[in-house]
């Protein structure tokens, strides 16, 4: 029996990625990283800034996301996100820009705890990528 399932990553502009031979996906869920294998129970969760790792027959792909929702059902995983970047195509200068923006955001004085937490997460993740 194959251990593969289907994922679809959709951003508002288009269907970003469609893969049918995924063996494992690791997503930065809000309450911690979460690995999903085939036949996982149906789940809905949302994402915090972090790295999505997709393991498939054709190799490993990594993506940086800032937010999103993940739904897993009947071995179909859909991931809705408005900000996703392929790490392979991500240039250093772009990374720096993102980092600067995130730091600015987290240093704002009037900011709710939750957005502060998210901004800090962003900074941490981006720093680790550098």
């Amino acid at each position: 029996m194959s251990e593969e399932f289907k994922i679809e990553i959709i951003n508002p502009e288009k269907s970003f990625l469609l893969k049918e031979d995924v063996t494992e996906i690791i997503v930065p869920a809000f309450e911690g990283e979460m690995g999903i294998l085939k036949d996982h129970i149906s789940i809905i969760s949302f994402l915090k800034p972090g790295i999505i790792t997709i393991n498939s027959k054709s190799g490993e792909d990594k993506f940086y996301v800032e937010d999103g929702i993940v739904e897993f059902k009947d071995n179909n995983l859909s991931l809705l996100t408005s900000s996703i970047l392929n790490l392979k195509e991500l240039e250093k200068s772009k990374l720096q820009d993102l980092l600067i923006n995130a730091e600015k955001e987290s240093n704002k004085s009037e900011i709710t705890d939750q957005s502060k937490y998210l901004a800090d997460q962003k900074v941490d993740v981006l720093k680790s990528l550098n």
């Binding site: 951003n11 502009e13 288009k14 809000f30 809905i44 969760s45 739904e71 809705l80 408005s82």
Partner: protein
Amino acid sequence: MASLDDLKKRIASVKSTQKITKAMKMVAAAKLRRAQESAEKGRPYSEKMNNIILNLSSGISDKENAPKLLSGSGNDKVHLCVVMTSDRGLCGGFNSNIIKKAKSYFAKLAEDGKELKIITVGSKGNDQLKRVYGDKIIANISFKESKNANYFDADKVGKMVIEKFGAEEFDVCTIFYNQFKNVITQIPQAQQIIPLNVENLEEDKSEDSYEFEPDEDEILNNLLPKNISTQIFKAMLENSASEQGSRMSAMDNATRNAGEMVDKLTIEYNRSRQAAITKELIEIISGAESL
């Protein structure tokens, strides 16, 4: 009857107008393809979003404490209408169709004694509405700088709506836009986004129990604001495809009309030229005869 010179000038001017409308039609056709593509590509996102929200809201146990964006503020007094139009004219009935739809809705609200607030997106709608509803318009947003509809802009509108809802400035929010069906048909739509009209969403009969992490309420609270932006973005995409489609058919008509007019004017020109020649000939002949 106009003189030969006048006719000549008119023919030249109609011809140059025709050239412009023809060029605009070509441009609109090229843009339409892109806009239509992105409208179609954007659909899965909003559909998925709707599905997830439907699954969530049907699973929610405590209806009373459901997030306000879903259940409404409990009142039905102040209506916010987001009227989405284009920034450019010369696109046939595109803008006036939306405005007509919106105005009839406003009239109904006034009849029911509801309070009305308007946000206009796109300068054309603002121009048309401010004469009658000037005092009701609380904001006007225009995205003249951005070339294509993008999610960032939609998010700005969405955040503004949510902020105003949070400040209890309105109870019900409806967006107006043109849904793109095909090049000649665009259907003006009024879609209520706050409170979310769950009954309108397609019924997903599957009895799935999801595991939620964190719990339903928190996910809903996170998801609903995103859904607002998504719906607005969807409306923007549909709108931009509709705008180009509408412009294309309007310009096609204009080009054809200009062509007809050129034909008519040319016939008139030829006739009067011929008449002038005949007149001169008669004059010469009668002059020769009298000698």
